[in-house]
């Protein structure tokens, strides 16, 4: 869509290009691209592959690590068998990206009750996807505080769990539909 071209026009705003969660073999768990740099699914897969291979040998467990290649900056952290990445352009402030990554990882840890691993992530994929939506919107940083992000996400899922009678049909569907619509339109 036309409006997602927007970062060509303002290089002055901190911009996140993608957030990736891969497993320990480099397979996709949940990914979100906010940039048109990778227009096709194969371009995205190739990018994920190069991100994964260039970082897999490093030890990014206690502190977030950083790498730079092909004009991308990648800040990343590994927890158990999950690899979390935040990427941006090569003139982006690395520390802002690290802050976004930290917020994302914190939120996921809270939502998965500290059982951060691949299986838990897949079983709660809806939460992870909601998390991606609440942290960055079209490249713009929405929120960087992990507990706030987790709070926003769990307010969605709390509604899901409450009895049907207590909410209108429209409400129940609203959040899910919205996220579905958004993904379809990218």
């Amino acid at each position: 869509m036309a409006w997602s071209f927007y970062w060509n026009n303002h290089d002055t705003c901190p911009t996140i290009k993608s957030i990736l969660v891969l497993d320990s073999e480099g397979k996709r768990i949940a990914v979100k691209y906010y940039s048109d740099d990778w227009p096709t699914n194969s371009a995205k897969s190739a990018f994920e592959k190069s991100v994964f291979t260039k970082t897999q040998k490093t030890n990014a467990r206690s502190e977030a690590e950083i790498a730079m290649f092909d004009n991308n900056i990648v800040v990343y952290k590994f927890i158990q068998d999950l690899h979390f990445f935040v990427t941006g352009g090569d003139d982006e402030n690395e520390i802002i990206m690290a802050t976004v990554l930290q917020g994302f990882v914190d939120a996921v840890s809270l939502l998965l009750r500290n059982n951060v691993d691949k299986m838990e992530a897949l079983e709660n994929l809806d939460l992870i996807l909601l998390c991606l939506d609440e942290i960055v919107d079209g490249g713009m940083v929405l929120e960087t505080d992990g507990s706030i992000i987790a709070g926003k996400v769990s307010s969605h899922s709390m509604d899901d769990a409450s009895p049907l009678a207590e909410q209108t049909i429209s409400q129940a569907l609203a959040t899910a539909r919205e996220h579905l619509t958004r993904s379809l339109l990218r």
Binding site: H10, R28, L125, Q171, T181
Partner: protein
């Protein structure tokens, strides 16, 4: 991609492979999606199905709208997936309901989705009222942020609507919620980004006010640098009133703000060492941080600083050296290349030892960066070529990919070219390399280079063995270039001729025809059939001369020739010699940062070199002597007119050449015989000597036409010229692209052009003005005082004088502190005839804005000192 299409039940026994989505299949999920049609909607079930759908989407499956509608009638009356007009209305109405919901999250998300699916303005106008309310909704920051961020996206499609929200956004900038302030600031800046004054006001007010979130502080720093950049572009003085703000941010508690400010300071135009120091100090602290991200950010920034201000970074050398062993190889590489830039001659050997250990365990891409850094180091310290050349030849022998090897070979070639002492050893290293080189391209390049340089060495015969080995051992391409190289040795070194002939004759039996043809050609050219004769000049030209036509043009001509076969042989003289494309005047995007780990800073000299080459390639101008200065392009047309013309003034000792860069912006026109008629009646000392029209100017492909003037030798003559573009215009059929036969003569008035005194001055900074001032001595010092009359401000007067003289302000003295009553400004430059000039300007402002100035000039030439005073007196 989707999992394999094997259907398996969710079998928890298979622990290792278990995934909730194992065996998921598109068709099955779509079937399941029928639950949406159920009159009794089961919300939990729906959300499970939606999660599955999202999983598939995330794995890269695609769904077409047809699928949705036909398979399921999905979302029946509530939803639609692709916003076709009537579906949008349905979605919208339900989302609109959500927008009035009591739950913040619903309102926030409804806003985000609505703004995302709307493309047309009419719907937006309907919800505009809600959005405006949401922006100023102080109690619900989530809602305000959603509306503001959506505004940022909408600005791309519906700018006129979003611009109407200025007042609300302005109010949100004052919000107490940290992120709302950040989003509001980002949106407000984008609404106003084309209004320089408004951005400057925004920055002025916010840098004094309170900014709550670190992110907001970061964008404010960026906007501030933009204001600084643009103000210095406007008045050349680089007025830096916001520096104090940037420096203050270095003491912020958030690391991202500290870093953003430090980076902004290092990127200021013409930053002085005094300004740099505090930024370098905080970056140095980051270098020893436990967080890799901080170390990386700091070392990357310092690496960039080292390109322009190596001295400023030397304080960090000890920290840098410890980073060579950093776990993170990106950090280590950046540290090494920084050290290579800041190192002094005595530390070279020690550094090389450290790097040798390091090279074996990094990736090729990092090695290339290191090689580039070593090359520049070697050019900086030519005396150290031995150890550096050894290093390069050692790594050349090790394993590596093509790009890496090419970088090394290129570096050796450059060193051979620039450091005469390094030539013989460098050539031998290259010879050894081609003995065992798997890359045809590199072998042929080296052979070509060897053919040009080898014969000029003290003992050319020692290279022959390496070259002839190629004829025996390599593939046809390499063999053919080896034959050419042999011929070059034969042509240049008479004593080797008989032996070369023997070798070339052996090549006559090669299995490849190109190799045989070359051998035959060279044998007959060099007279290999009999007597040993002195090699003809023509033959040498053929062997060594480069084509005097641009390769692009040759390529086009040959293509045309092949397309229309004719009896006539191809005539190389028919190839046009004009350079069509015009890389010289590419506008450099202001503030564009170098990319990649080792991006070099833009080299200002290269443009001058390129201009010099261009001018000297034109026969009419070739005897004008050395090009002294080329001005920046001056626009002679308004933006977006039919023909865009700018001019570059090339100053020679006794001549001035105007280079008019013309672009035809009308697709339906072809211009021919384009020239500029210059009226120099207001420039008495100039007389036109020659001009060079442009043969043809097709649409959107820039071309140049030149006019040359003679002026008294060595005199900084000034004058005003009026210009008229003259051409024959031909209509072009847009469908076929063919031009009509007949054209019409036409003219187009351009703006006037002036040659001013500053055109005779080259900006040249000095690092220590006082030392330079003392060393030039008071012999030709001229001092005088001038009244500059009423001026708007002291800063304005200072900038006016600087631009009048066209000299480089030193030590940041172009910045006038606000409210000061007096100011001293230091300038340096080189005046025509390459005389160094230093100027000390003392300004004072008095009563009703009357500015007085004392001008002291020191230079190496009395007449130049006088000329500077003449310029000021007449300006």
């Amino acid at each position: 991609m989707a999992q394999p299409l094997v259907k398996k039940d969710d079998d928890r026994d298979d622990e290792a492979e278990y995934s909730p989505f194992l065996g998921i299949e598109k068709g099955a999920v779509l079937q399941e999606a029928r639950v949406f049609n159920d009159p009794q909607l089961d919300a939990r079930r729906c959300s499970q199905v939606i999660t599955k759908l999202l999983y598939l989407l995330n794995q890269g499956e695609t769904f077409t709208k047809r699928y949705w509608i036909e398979e399921n009638g999905l979302f029946d009356d509530k939803g639609a997936l692709s916003p076709s007009a009537d579906e949008v209305i349905i979605v919208t109405s339900s989302l609109m309901k959500d927008m009035n919901s009591k739950t913040d999250m619903y309102r926030a998300n409804a806003i985000r989705v609505l703004c995302r699916i709307t493309d047309d303005g009419t719907l937006l106008t309907q919800i505009e009222r809600y959005l405006k309310q949401a922006i100023v909704d102080d109690k619900n920051p989530v809602v305000a942020s959603a509306a503001l961020v959506s505004g940022i996206h909408l600005l791309q499609t519906n700018p006129e609507i979003v611009k109407r929200w200025s007042n609300e956004v302005q109010e949100a900038v004052q919000s107490r919620a940290a992120l709302v302030q950040f989003h509001a600031l980002a949106l407000l800046h984008q609404i106003r980004q084309n209004d320089r004054l408004a951005v400057s006001k925004l920055v002025t007010s916010l840098t004094r006010g309170t900014v709550r979130s670190p992110l907001a502080q970061c964008v404010l720093i960026r906007y501030t640098s933009q204001v600084i950049r643009e103000s210095s572009m406007n008045n050349q003085t680089g007025d830096r009133p916001f520096y104090d703000y940037l420096e203050g941010c270095l003491r912020h508690k958030s690391e991202m703000v500290i870093f953003e400010a430090a980076r902004a300071i290092t990127e200021l135009n013409g930053v002085t060492s005094r300004e740099l120091t505090p930024a370098i100090t905080v970056l140095q602290l980051f270098l020893s941080s436990s967080k890799p991200v901080l170390r990386f950010a700091a070392v990357r920034t310092l690496n960039k600083v080292a390109m322009t201000h190596p001295m400023a970074v030397t304080n960090c050398n000890i920290d840098m050296e410890s980073l060579i062993s950093d776990q993170n190889r990106s950090i280590a590489t950046l540290a090494i290349t920084t050290l290579l830039k800041t190192g002094n001659e005595s530390s070279v050997d020690r550094l090389m030892k450290q790097i040798t250990n390091f090279m074996s365990d990094i990736a090729d891409e990092f090695k290339i960066v290191v090689v580039d850094a070593i090359r520049s180091l070697c050019l900086k310290f030519p005396l150290k070529y031995r150890s550096l050349m050894n290093f390069l030849s050692n790594i050349l022998r090790e394993e590596g990919g093509f790009d890496y090897k090419k970088a090394i070979v290129d570096s050796i070639v450059i060193l051979i070219r620039d450091i005469p002492d390094a030539k013989e050893s460098g050539l031998l290293h290259l010879c050894e390399f081609i003995e065992d080189c798997e890359f045809t391209y590199l072998s042929t390049q080296i052979l070509h280079f060897l053919g040009n340089e080898g014969p000029k060495t003290s003992d050319p015969s020692k290279y022959i063995r390496y070259i002839y080995n190629r004829v025996i051992l390599e593939n046809a391409t390499v063999r053919a270039s080896a034959v050419s190289t042999l011929a070059k040795f034969g042509a240049m070194v008479d004593s080797l001729k008989p032996r070369i002939f023997v070798l070339l004759r052996r090549c006559l039996f090669d299995i490849d025809d190109e190799v045989r043809d070359r051998a035959t050609l060279y044998l007959s050219m060099l007279g290999g059939d009999g007597a040993i004769v002195e090699t003809d000049k023509d033959v040498k030209d053929f062997l060594f001369g480069s084509l005097d036509v641009p390769l692009v043009n040759l390529e086009t001509s040959l293509k045309n020739y092949v397309q229309e076969p004719s009896e006539e042989p191809f005539d190389i003289d028919s190839v046009p010699k004009e350079v069509k494309s015009q890389p010289l005047v590419e506008k450099k995007a202001p503030g564009k940062k170098p990319t990649g780990l080792g991006a070099a800073p833009a080299a200002p000299t290269s443009t001058v070199d390129a201009y010099e080459k261009l001018i000297s390639s034109i026969p009419e101008f070739s005897d004008f002597g050395k090009l002294f200065k080329s001005s920046a392009p001056v626009e002679l047309t308004e933006a977006e007119t039919e023909y865009a013309v700018n001019v570059v003034k090339h100053i020679f000792d006794g001549h001035v050449v105007f280079q008019y860069n013309c672009t035809n912006t009308i697709p339906e026109q072809l211009l021919e015989n384009v020239s500029v008629i210059v009226d120099a009646s207001d420039a008495e000392e100039f007389s036109e000597v020659s001009s060079k029209p442009l043969r043809s100017l097709p649409y959107d492909s820039p071309g140049q036409t030149f006019v040359a003037f003679e002026k008294p030798d060595g005199v900084p003559a000034v004058g005003k010229f009026s210009n008229m573009l003259k051409f024959v215009v031909k209509e072009v059929d847009p469908t076929t692209g063919e031009a009509e036969e007949d054209g019409v003569e036409d003219e187009y008035q351009l703006e006037d052009l002036e040659v001013v005194a500053a055109d005779y001055m080259v900006k040249l900074g000095v690092s220590n003005f006082r030392n330079a001032w003392e060393s030039i001595g008071p012999d030709f010092e001229r001092v005088d005082e001038y009244g500059l009359g009423p001026r708007e401000s002291l800063a304005e007067a200072v900038s006016a004088v600087i631009s009048l003289l066209g000299m480089q302000p030193c030590e940041g003295t172009e910045v006038v502190p606000t409210n000061s009553r007096s100011h001293t400004c230091l300038l340096s430059g080189v005046f025509m005839g390459s005389a160094k000039v230093l100027v000390r300007l003392s300004f004072g402002i008095d009563g009703p804005k009357e500015v007085a100035m004392k001008l002291s000039v020191r230079s190496e030439d009395e007449s130049v000192s006088d000329a500077i005073h003449d310029i000021v007196a007449s300006g």
